[in-house]
Amino acid sequence: MPSEDPKPRLQVLPGTLDLMVLRTLAAMGPQHAYAIATRLEQVSEALLSLNQGTLYPALVRLEQQGWIRGSWGKTENNREARFYALTRAGRKALGEETARWRRLAGLMEKLLAEDV
């Protein structure tokens, strides 16, 4: 099916969403799911096709691994929301995951830069 959109939206690469969430929380401090999703869309300049609901499995996984911790709080508009904060283990994991991703990305870059 040919796309009419000149800039086709990207699907989230499997396994990368967790890193994105960790990175966002590290950059912005404790955030609720909606803010995380909005931030991801902004950063990607709306390139990333991200249904709000798909964020949740990542949040559940990260919380169960003990990398983030959620707690109920109030937004500036006095709405209730669950805020996720990076834990110490999460910060360490972010470092490892970032390094891993850079190695992987570097490798891909090198491969693709070769003349065909």
């Binding site: 609720h32 709000q52 609901g53 798909t54 949740y56 499995p57 169960q64 691994q65 959620g70 209730e80």
Partner: protein, 877 residues
């Protein structure tokens, strides 16, 4: 790992996790709506826009659950609840399947309980493979019982045993303080308890010191259960005196809870050292002529069974040489058997009957399994609309399959639970049947963990075998046509019925053979009449009773005179060693034949008082009976039976011949009596010699009492008479000869009872199958019946239509079952008495029963079809 735990927590606290999730997502949506409203949308538009941006609320919830927990497990629980609901909705189906499983698996578990307890279980000791049982090959037979001196010599001369134990287990009259009652009792060597590594629950256990000097340590150990039941678990039981056959023994300790000892099939209540045995038995412990102990040992670590056997064989002559004369060890060659299963009280003798029963009960389970499969097939047929709807609504075929299998497993587990109740009741009843009339030992078996595992596995296998195909088929239901995918389901159902009928024929034939054989054993002419005869063992009581001079016979005379005066008593007499009692006395009788040659005939010996023949109705064929004139001091007299007469003096008149009597004197043969079965109805006629009880008084005897009134009342009065007229004696046991006979043929009764039960169960299940099939067929063919009737078929024709369907199945089942039954009957051959394995009467009986049952099972639904109103039938779809 951490995540794994978290997922389990989420599974357990599912509701809280769900609430949390819903709340969070709702909050999330609210924030989005706020944003959209801020951009100028109305509340409603904002709501829709938020949902759109979300992209499927329910899907994301599923994703959430997926990540959060184990979805498959969550669904499994859901499906299990669904299965339970679905089963509750069809109670009759559930009831029938539960019952066939409860009985199918119940009797199976009961038999396995016996197989496990008697054949499979091993001694609860370290390395049971190193435990051995001592035997000896003698001239004529293999011996399993030995004298005490032989036990000592085995220990001293072989060097292969790390430890050796000797024991004898017999039911005795034990008085724990509340009056004498029968209890399993054992004499044990001092090594016994340490052999099993037992630690006392209270006090101490019997040790080598207790067993050292004969008569020096009149002590005993009681079982934990006896302590609890007889003394309420009171520590003050220690040092109390109990009486075993009148002999006082001091309790020095309580065996550990659950202690079994050398014999896994029996449960002792009291153990005493062999050093007190001479106070209870009729000989000194050092007597090498008395064989009464079983011997088991543990091999030294470096020694193999073959090596030990070689050593034992080499040491056998030295053992014999060391035994004091007279000994019962002539030419004995000692050898060892595997003892890992403990002492062999029944293992060898019950091995084959149990194998047959296990086979038969497996057939019953197969019939039940086929029944279950059939019911499930029929149910799947009835539910095809439900399946079609479920599949149309998007349930995966896989999940439907799983739901249906779960239903089957739920049935199997519920049926398995009921089966336990059946199994416990059947086991209990079997043991009662088996032990009834056994005066000296009781079989004791209880189900354990391996039995539980067995029945659990049997349940699951049954569910799997019976349920897999119907469930698989249902999961492939064609949505459009609302029909299960596979054609030929009728063929499958008929095939299952055929299998059921075939197996039922085999079971019926087996049952018929065993019942027939038992009937023969019960009606066989024993040579005497056991109807309404009590047999009361009366023994001298108290310590040293066997070592004191022969007690005054007047006491026993007085007992007999008083018993005879009882109004309910028709006749009574003394004998020593009663018929069918399990005890016998055998001696070599020296015969001088016509040519003056002397030879020995091994004959059974009975001491009988005057009136014995009349009491038991043993026919006197020649000469005279013992009379009042035959007293101590008058010439010794004897009777011989026909068999002995024919062996000793063929063609001559035995009356007037002389045979050895008591005390090196000769006895005159004064008469010839008919042959009798002495120990067992099965035995061939044995030579028997009867000596006068009055002329050879022993220490007690057996009162034979023919009653005309209430036998229980007579038994009570006899006990009372012995108590007052002969205080030096006590009644050890009163049983009817009929009960004794039943005890002797307990194995036959067990086989007949169980095979009948299995035959009845198998047949009932098969008939239920036929009934179900025909009933189903009637429902499906209602319209066809309507058409037939409207074009002139009569009710009889309709009935015949369905009867023929059943008759064909039964005929085919019989055709397949009969050859199989005849083939399998060969295994039963050696347990049958007077019945051949191709007995035509039994073939006819089992076939007729099957055929009649098959027609009856079809008649009920068939009659319903014949009553169909054709007009209504044509209207139905």
């Amino acid at each position: 790992m951490r995540r794994f735990r978290a997922r389990f927590v989420a599974l357990l606290f599912r509701r809280r996790a769900e609430e949390q999730m819903a709340r969070e997502m709702a909050a999330h949506l609210a924030l989005m709506e706020d944003d959209f409203r801020r951009r100028g949308l109305t509340a409603e538009e904002a709501h829709l826009a938020a949902l759109r941006a979300w992209g499927g609320l329910e899907q994301s919830k599923e994703l959430h659950r997926d990540a959060r927990s184990f979805v498959w497990l969550e669904q499994l629980l859901q499906d299990a609840r669904h299965a339970a609901r679905s089963l509750r909705q069809s109670p009759s189906f559930t009831a029938v399947t539960l019952l066939s499983l409860a009985f199918g698996i119940g009797v199976n578990t009961a038999i396995f309980t016996l197989v496990n307890g008697i054949l499979l279980k091993k001694l609860p000791v370290a390395e049971p493979e190193r435990v051995v049982q001592v035997q000896a090959q003698k001239k004529m037979f293999a011996a399993a019982a030995f004298s005490y001196p032989a036990y000592r010599e085995l220990q001293r001369q072989t060097g292969v045993f790390a430890s050796l134990i000797a024991f004898q287990q017999v039911i005795h009259l034990v008085d724990f303080g509340g009056g004498p009652g029968r209890a399993e009792f054992a004499f044990v060597s001092g090594s016994y308890f340490s052999f099993f590594g037992a630690r006392p629950a209270l006090g101490r256990l019997i040790d080598e010191k207790d067993d050292e000097v004969e008569g020096a340590s009149p002590v005993c150990v009681i079982s934990y259960d006896a302590w609890q039941q007889r003394f309420g678990g009171d520590p003050a039981a220690l040092n109390r005196m109990i009486h075993v056959d009148g002999l006082p023994l001091r309790i020095i300790g309580v065996a550990p809870r659950g202690f079994i000892g050398a014999d896994l099939e029996r449960r002792q209540e009291v153990w005493a050292p062999t050093s007190v045995s001479s106070d209870l038995l009729r000989f000194k412990r050092d007597n090498a002529g008395a064989v009464w102990l079983w011997i088991m040992g543990r091999l030294k670590p470096a020694i193999t069974l073959a090596g030990a056997n070689a050593r034992l064989k080499a040491a056998s002559p030295a053992i014999e040489a060391a035994l004091p004369a007279p000994h019962a060890n002539q030419g004995a060659v000692y050898y060892l058997l595997d003892g890992s299963h403990g002492n062999d009280s029944w293992r060898t003798s019950l091995h084959d009957p149990l194998s047959i029963l296990m086979g038969a009960v497996t057939l019953v389970l197969l019939v039940a399994c086929a029944n279950l499969a059939n019911l499930l097939l029929a149910r799947a047929g009835d539910r095809r609309q439900e399946f079609a709807i479920k599949l149309a609504l998007g349930i995966s075929a896989r999940r439907l399959l799983r739901q249906l299998m779960l239903e089957t497993v739920a049935i199997a587990l519920a049926g398995g639970t009921l089966a336990w109740i059946v199994a416990l009741a059947v086991t209990r009843y079997l043991l009662d049947v088996f032990n009834a009339g056994s005066t000296y030992r009781h079989l004791h078996v209880v189900p354990d963990a391996s039995v539980l595992l067995y029945s659990f596995v049997a349940c699951l296998l049954t569910a799997l075998i019976a349920g897999l195909y119907p469930a698989w088929q249902a999961s492939r239901t064609d949505i459009e046509r609302r029909l299960p995918a596979t054609a030929g389901r009728g063929v499958l159902r008929r095939g299952l019925i055929l299998v059921q009928v075939t197996l039922a024929v085999v079971l019926l034939f087996g049952a018929s053979l065993f019942a027939h054989s038992l009937r023969k054993l019960k009606t066989i002419d024993l040579g005497y009449d056991i109807d309404r005869v009590l047999s009361a063992m009366v023994l001298g009581s108290g310590p040293q009773r066997n070592l004191r001079p022969v007690p005054p016979p007047p006491q026993l005379d007085e007992v007999l005179a008083r018993v005879r005066r009882l109004p309910e008593v028709e006749a009574a007499a003394w004998s020593a060693m009663g018929m069918l009692s399990g005890w016998s006395s055998v001696g070599d009788t020296e015969i001088t034949d016509a040519s003056g040659r002397k030879r020995q005939i091994e004959a059974r010996v009975i001491l009988a008082s005057a009136g014995f023949l009349k009491t038991l109705r043993v026919p006197l064929l020649k000469g005279r009976d013992f009379g009042p004139g035959d007293r101590p001091g008058t010439p010794l007299v004897a009777l011989v039976n026909q068999k002995l007469a024919a062996m000793a003096w063929p063609g001559e008149d035995p009356v007037g011949k002389r045979i050895p009597g008591a005390g090196r004197k000769e006895a005159d043969v004064i008469g010839v009596v008919g042959n009798s079965k002495y120990l067992n109805p099965r035995e061939a006629d044995q030579p028997i010699v009867y000596y006068s009880f009055e002329q050879q008084p022993g220490d007690g005897g057996t009162l034979q009492i023919r009653c005309r009134g209430d036998m229980d009342a007579v038994a009570r009065e006899v006990r009372e008479i012995v108590k007052t007229a002969a205080p030096a004696y006590q009644v050890s046991d009163i049983t009817s000869l009929e009960a004794l006979r039943d005890g002797v043929i307990s194995q036959d009764r067990l086989l007949a009872f169980l095979s009948s039960l299995f035959g009845a169960l198998g047949t009932a299940l098969a008939l239920a199958g036929i009934y179900g099939l025909i009933a189903y067929s009637v429902t499906r063919r209602t319209r066809e019946v309507g058409i037939r009737m409207s074009v002139g078929a009569r009710r009889g024709d309709v009935l015949r239509l369905f009867l023929r369907e059943s008759a064909l199945l039964v005929a085919a089942g019989i055709a397949a079952g009969l050859p199989l039954a005849l083939l399998l009957a060969r295994f039963a051959g050696k347990f049958l008495y007077g019945v051949s394995t191709t007995e035509p009467a039994d073939i006819a009986l089992s076939l007729a029963a099957m055929a009649a049952g098959g027609l009856a099972a079809a008649y009920l639904p068939g009659r319903r079809a014949a009553r169909i109103n054709p007009v209504e039938a044509l209207r139905c779809d």
